[in-house]
């Protein structure tokens, strides 16, 4: 369980990092928190020739207010996100990521780039229609969460591109509900509901290759349909696969139940 040999470059600017990736000709990888990459290297599921460490690039660790929301630098650690008060939905989601020692290293940019469909931040990014800022050797571009995620651990990021920041609007109202077998484990089902500029969005994690937006359920929700009906529509929108942790039917049933919970205020949930 040791990584294969690689060269290591400690980048001091975004420009230096993306140039190094471009020079590595598809055989280089960014290392941020390393909380997903190091297991992949140790299992030798990846054997890059070069690792570009972005941890010492200045200016990427800030949480700044932007019009109607926050901008997360790519190096904002999950622990920081869990502790901030500017964006309560992000704080709640971050508390569900792994364990303390993993949250102290893992980064927002790494989590989005890794694009695990069961990870919390990609689901939040999908629900909030986040804008992802990306730098490449030729300049910068911005994309949306929907355009970025294309499959499990697959994105539209090019091999020489780097996420620099993520803009997430602050919802007026929101709900977050996750079902995992043990606190800190990846969610079997994660549901995020968020009302932005008067419209509700829903995103479902863990029940597809990418965070899913159930269109019919969102329609019903915005038309004021009862929660039960919205939850049923969300479950109807997913075709999860089964694995050792849970069958497909179980995951669909949990999608319905946890959509219901995400849309039910805690106080009512406690009374029910």
């Amino acid at each position: 369980m040791k990584p294969a040999p690689f060269d290591y470059l400690r980048a001091h600017s975004v420009g230096e990092a993306v140039r190094a990736l471009a020079d590595a000709d598809g055989d280089g990888k960014i290392i941020a928190g390393g909380q997903s990459l190091l297991p992949v290297l140790a299992l030798r599921m990846a054997r890059p020739r070069l690792l570009v460490d972005i941890n010492r690039i200045p200016g990427l660790s800030t949480i700044t207010p932007v019009d109607g929301g926050v901008r997360l630098g790519a190096l904002v650690r999950h622990a920081r996100l869990a502790g901030q008060t500017a964006h309560p939905l992000l704080a709640e989601a971050a508390r569900w990521i792994g364990h303390t020692a993993i949250r102290s290293r893992g980064t927002s940019g790494g989590s989005i780039a890794h694009a695990d469909p069961a990870a919390e931040l990609p689901v939040v990014a999908a629900a909030l229609e986040a804008t992802i800022h990306i730098a490449g050797p030729g300049g910068t571009r911005a994309t949306t969460a929907t355009e970025l995620f294309t499959g499990p651990l697959e994105t539209t990021l090019a091999e020489d591109e780097m996420i620099t920041a993520i803009d997430l609007p602050s919802p007026q109202r929101w709900g977050f509900a996750e079902f995992s077998r043990r606190h800190g484990d990846f969610g079997l089902v994660t549901v995020v509901a968020a009302e932005v500029a008067g419209r509700w969005r829903l995103a479902l994690g863990g029940v597809g290759g990418v965070p899913l937006r159930p269109a019919e359920a969102e329609h019903l929700l915005n038309d004021g349909a009862p929660v039960e009906q919205v939850a049923a529509a969300a479950a109807a929108a997913v075709t999860p696969s089964g694995d050792i942790h849970a069958s497909a039917e179980y995951r669909r049933a949990m999608t319905e139940e946890f959509t219901r919970r995400a849309l039910t205020p805690d106080t009512e949930r406690a009374a029910a």
């Binding site: 369980m1 040791k2 990584p3 294969a4 040999p5 690689f6 060269d7 290591y8 400690r10 290392i31 390393g34 909380q35 190091l38 297991p39 290297l41 140790a42 299992l43 690792l51 460490d53 941890n55 622990a79 792994g98 364990h99 303390t100 020692a101 993993i102 102290s104 290293r105 043990r182 606190h183 800190g184």
Partner: protein, 156 residues
């Protein structure tokens, strides 16, 4: 690559391959074998150390990434004269360990918790230690020990 870091107050220099994890550098290059390796992919918590005061999986950090930082391992808990840390005393008194394999990681995770919260309740202790796996104790003694140490350290 040359790296330089402070471990338990002592400066060390080492020439490490980039692929060497911090855990391997501590154990094999520095001889500090208190930090244990179980799973080597972040799941068991046995390798947990503090880097610049933050808990870190030493198996998920490259030694080259720790260049310039200050690291605390389980060897740094006891006093210079060998006096055990209150957490170590409590683990012994409350049967918080059997084989001892998970113990270094448990101690470092618990130390981090007690740095942040003076009197955590049992539920909080369980939640915070949920990233550390023990195959021997059933966790009851460990939770007892952390609670006892918290009281001891808070009233000291």
């Amino acid at each position: 690559m040359n790296v330089e870091f402070t471990v338990n107050g002592t400066r060390h220099e080492a020439d490490v391959e980039p692929r060497r994890t911090l855990a391997d550098a501590l154990r094999d290059d520095l001889g500090l074998t208190g930090t244990h390796l179980g799973c080597e992919h972040g799941v068991c918590g046995a390798c947990t150390v503090l880097v610049d005061g933050e808990p870190v999986r030493a198996c998920l950090m490259l030694a080259v990434q720790a260049d310039g930082s200050s690291i605390t391992t389980v060897e740094g808990l006891a006093g210079d004269d060998g006096t055990l840390h209150p957490l170590q005393e409590a683990f012994s008194a409350h049967h918080g360990l059997q084989c001892g394999f998970c113990t270094p990681g448990m101690l470092m995770s618990a130390l981090d918790l007690l740095h942040r919260e003076t009197r955590p309740c049992r539920e909080r202790i369980r939640e915070e230690l949920s990233g550390n796996i023990c195959r021997c104790t059933g966790y009851v003694g460990i939770v007892d020990a952390v609670q006892a140490a918290a009281e001891e350290m808070d009233s000291a």
